[in-house]
Symmetry: D2
Subunit: 250 residues, 4 copies
């Protein structure tokens, strides 16, 4: 069947960091038929003393979860070692904003066949971003671009989500383009607005952070939706989708 | 009745510069029932030798046009003198991006009762923009904010339209908020996408440049829609509006 | 004789806002032979309720001061009215960052013969800045450019002083170029470093804020040097100047 | 003895890419007593089809050169593999702007004892940069920060060299701070100005690109000084240094 088809709007949701099996079970229960789950097992943190992800222990626990549950795991690689470590558990590989220019890692990703979501660098131009994608592209894999906000002078939002890029890329390239309104704004109260705008502008889906208890999240607590909020968001996007000739998949 | 009601999505269109009566007649004919027309009579140009608007002559011609046609004229003031000169012909006053910080002009605008569209400064923070609006605000008038793109490192588009600002302002303030996708992107091929996204995100309307012959426009030729393109845009926004509980007015 | 000669490094100092005669007398006393004084009589403030300058009252008091003291007053025009009001008291006219794009005001300045210091707009490109200068330039007057920091993502300093612009302009144009390290950084502890770097890079002088009692300044208190700090700064620049074939004038 | 002492201003020069033994011999001959040489053996290029460095072959040739010549090699690591490969030939390790956020690589660098020059990310805040340094810092090694220009809206220079950062870091942290005016501006005609300003502001040295034949350089040809230009630059900085209580080392 394949992912990211022309007429689908894909909602990939989950916690910023994978913190334990209960967290994921609650998430999957809430969405019932969830197909796509994002969860960071390796984390890149500005501060070296911040939580760096469950890593080896997380892979083990995630493998156990996948025995009983059916979902596509989207998770970030942060190095060649993590790519090797994740290979049996991850379905769609994410390259984070901090590694968009890590060309040695991108070259490695061109040698494998899983789809790769490539986030835009913090202040990457569109040309740099597309050229980074070309490092990964091969006959075997698919690269999906993900706009996640650029750095600007404005401090009301964590980053400045650049929807112009989505319009530009959808018209000038053949890449599928996702939007991450969670990192893009850093404000839960803006996520639904930006998600609807993403659909209206022609994006192929969103990557959105949700947590069964945001206040206790080990990372990015302030930008995670609660599970009921996530369910509401999906419902609203689902109602809107037909007017944009799209079908929501999540 | 009033402008910019809660459930309306207002499309203000017209040429960047007012160049003559035929230009406007063709525009109005094309739209048939157009209520809102934008046309610059005083122009602020980066280069002192560029066309600076028809000015006195333009006011005379515009007055003549208004005798036979029924429309609200949106036009930019560039100084106190131009405010005085425009007062009998303009219905809604526009303050351009270059004058957002021109507080002496803003104070003058607080003394009159016409609605004022205040464009965001090139790199104005939301706080600065809202505080500029407070210079104009009075019991007698209404200030409408207009997002028109901020300056960033990206060169694929003339400016980086910041839809985040619309979401933020609609939720945190009581201002009506318009979007100018023409200046916001500088690319005609992106205008429809960004207009739809503006509606989806909750904007109260758009300000869009159109010209009966873009190739010969005296300013901003590259970002003006043709009249058929404008009509198509209005039609598409009109179809979309009910799904966002809006009614298109233009 | 004239200002801003090729081999001089001009230090223009004074308070952000003119607050009263004692303030200026203390300043002049401290510097003994000060030739250049900056003091704002009309102020442009982000918040409409902030102190807007002494205005008419300030002009009166400044005139009185000039009877007894010999200095060149550098002061900002904020509108055509303020230009008219200041004309008997100001020696060198300053156009602030907020008015760099106010072309109607710039045109008016081309009709008079006093030197004009044109600050760079908050996010103005070098091309826009030079073209703004061309609005003012005439056979009668001199335009001096003043770099005062651009807007960036960095929040450790109020603005990001762009010394690259000084090097570029000095090599590619004939304009004299000043630097304003006070607004450029907003941090008193950085002013001396940036002043020395300005001299080293080839700037023609600096515009620096000082106050006899910064803690009580009515505007920009946090970036004003004390008078002893200012005296120390002048001394240090004076020692350095010969190594750059410059003579300090202040 | 050690590198980067308090009273030294260190000039590290060389070609962007190591292209062959003759290139380096000409460079060393020109400078006679050069102690510090920069030369990229592994290159990170925006376009995957651009020259990626001599890599294994370069290490072999560089080793041969070091048998006959006495210099400290500064060269960039681009991955853990390249760190391993370079370990016998490199004296001071450089982390480029694209890898400042590559925390997995930074952690690896904390386990070795060679000095590490950490360039600022393209739009990294000072806080992020200092925190990245803390990933590398250990009891065994020394981290030196290198300002190399941030991304802004200005297109006259490749990047906007941010000397404010140098002043801030020298006063608020204990790190040695270098400046790279070659990448910082991308214009050879600006390099001397910015180098002098770097010395004036308190930087501990510069990293500058030079090539025996810039027109034929395999990367960054437009920003490389010729060898005579480099010799002139060193001479001029040498004359200036005593006035800043510094001694030039190169």
């Amino acid at each position: 069947m394949g992912h990211f088809l022309d007429n689908t709007f894909t909602i990939i949701s989950g916690p910023c960091s994978f913190e334990g099996q209960d967290q994921i079970r609650e998430h999957l229960d809430c969405l019932e038929t969830s197909k796509y789950l994002r969860a960071g097992i390796f984390k890149l943190r500005t501060n070296k003393d911040s939580f760096q992800g469950l890593r080896a222990r997380g892979i083990e626990q995630m493998s156990a979860l996948k025995v009983d549950h059916n979902f596509c795991l989207v998770s970030e690689v942060v190095s060649m070692q993590s790519l090797e470590a994740l290979k049996d558990v991850v379905d769609i590989i994410q390259v984070g904003t901090r590694n968009m220019y890590n060309y040695e890692l991108l070259k490695e990703l061109s040698k494998q066949s899983k789809p790769v979501i490539l986030k835009r660098g913090l202040s990457a131009t569109i040309d740099e971003w597309v050229q980074a994608a070309q490092y990964i592209n091969s006959d075997e894999n698919q690269v999906i671009l993900c706009e996640r906000g650029i750095r600007s002078f404005e401090s009301k939002y964590r980053n400045t989500l650049d929807l112009n890029a989505v319009s530009y890329l959808k018209q000038k390239t053949n890449y599928k383009v996702l939007v991450d309104p969670s990192h893009g704004t850093g404000n839960t109260f803006m996520i639904e607005d930006l998600s609807k705008a993403s659909m209206a502008i022609g994006a192929d889906g969103i990557l959105v952070e949700a947590h069964f208890n945001p206040a206790q999240a080990l990372s990015d607590a302030h930008q995670a939706l609660t599970l009921p909020q996530l369910r509401g968001l999906i419902q609203n996007l689902n109602s809107l989708a037909p007017h944009f000739n799209k079908k929501v998949v999540f």
